[in-house]
């Protein structure tokens, strides 16, 4: 039972990509900037950063391949835009399980304190 084989599936690899994409401070900061909803160019996203334009572009491509952001040409430059759908449902699932634990722990509290 404890050694359940994990079958590879498209869903699992998609999710692994999202977690890997977010498991980096620079990329998390880029997501936070783009989450305002306004598409931003690579130049804008590089402003104020210690990283080079090439480095920022590389991070954006990682986020793009995980589906967390998407890019579109705007004139001569690519603009990047946030795509919340990719992990809205993951957050909601955790919220649900979290609420169940709140209930269970409240029951434990009244159980041991009575």
């Amino acid at each position: 039972m404890s050694a359940v084989p994990i079958e590879p599936s498209p869903e699992l690899s998609a999710r692994a990509l999202i977690f890997a994409a977010l498991g980096d401070e620079t990329r998390l900061a880029l997501v936070a900037r783009l989450s305002g909803g306004t598409p931003l160019s690579i130049s804008r996203l590089t402003e104020g950063s210690a990283l080079t334009r090439q480095a920022i572009t590389k991070h954006l491509r990682v986020l793009e391949s995980a589906g967390v952001v998407r890019s579109a040409r705007a004139g001569r430059e690519s603009q990047f835009e946030f795509r919340p759908d990719a992990f809205n449902e993951l957050r909601s699932y955790l919220d649900h399980v979290s609420a169940q634990w709140d209930d269970a722990l409240a029951r434990l509290k009244s159980f041991v304190e009575r």
Binding site: V4, E11, Y93, W101, R107, F111, V112
Partner: protein, 151 residues
């Protein structure tokens, strides 16, 4: 983005009392609202029924991992396995861990952590999404806090 749930609660009961409520299978069943078919022993898989009204037809199963008296209790299970038509045994499990810390005046601080959600299939989470749609705003605040600036 986190793949875990963490909680902390202060209990006005001694660590021995809380330890018993967590690890005595009858006491656990009482507050967790499940039946349990036998004692918790590391390595053993326990089974039973869920006692929540409306969910009584569902079975419940957990594999006990660690039991370090009055300090640490952990098991693995299939979280939120509520659909009797789905064979959850082929899906990845999450790990639940309780940590106990004694507090002054005979109280206990209990830390709960459930981890491993990144491996849970997407359709299961989508099901929960429809039931509990909180949207993106809240999560964004979390990320902003995490990185220190939302800019």
């Amino acid at each position: 983005m986190s793949d875990r749930i963490e909680k902390c609660i202060e209990l006005s009961a001694t660590v021995s009392r809380v330890w018993r409520a967590l690890t005595d299978h009858r006491e656990f069943g009482e507050w967790f609202r499940v039946t349990v078919d036998g004692p918790f022993v590391p390595g053993r898989t326990v089974r039973g029924h869920i006692l929540h009204p409306g969910y009584e037809h569902l079975t419940w199963e957990a594999t006990i991992e660690k039991m370090e008296p009055e300090r640490l209790f952990s098991f693995r299970w299939h979280p939120y396995a509520i659909d009797p038509n789905v064979d959850y045994s082929t899906e990845p499990m999450t790990r639940v861990e309780f940590r106990l810390e004694p507090k002054a005046h005979g109280g206990t601080i209990l830390y709960l952590m459930e981890s491993g959600f990144d491996a849970i299939p997407q359709h299961r989470r989508f099901e929960a999404f429809r039931m509990n749609d909180r949207g993106w705003t809240e999560q964004m605040k979390n990320i902003a806090r995490h990185v220190g600036s939302a800019d």
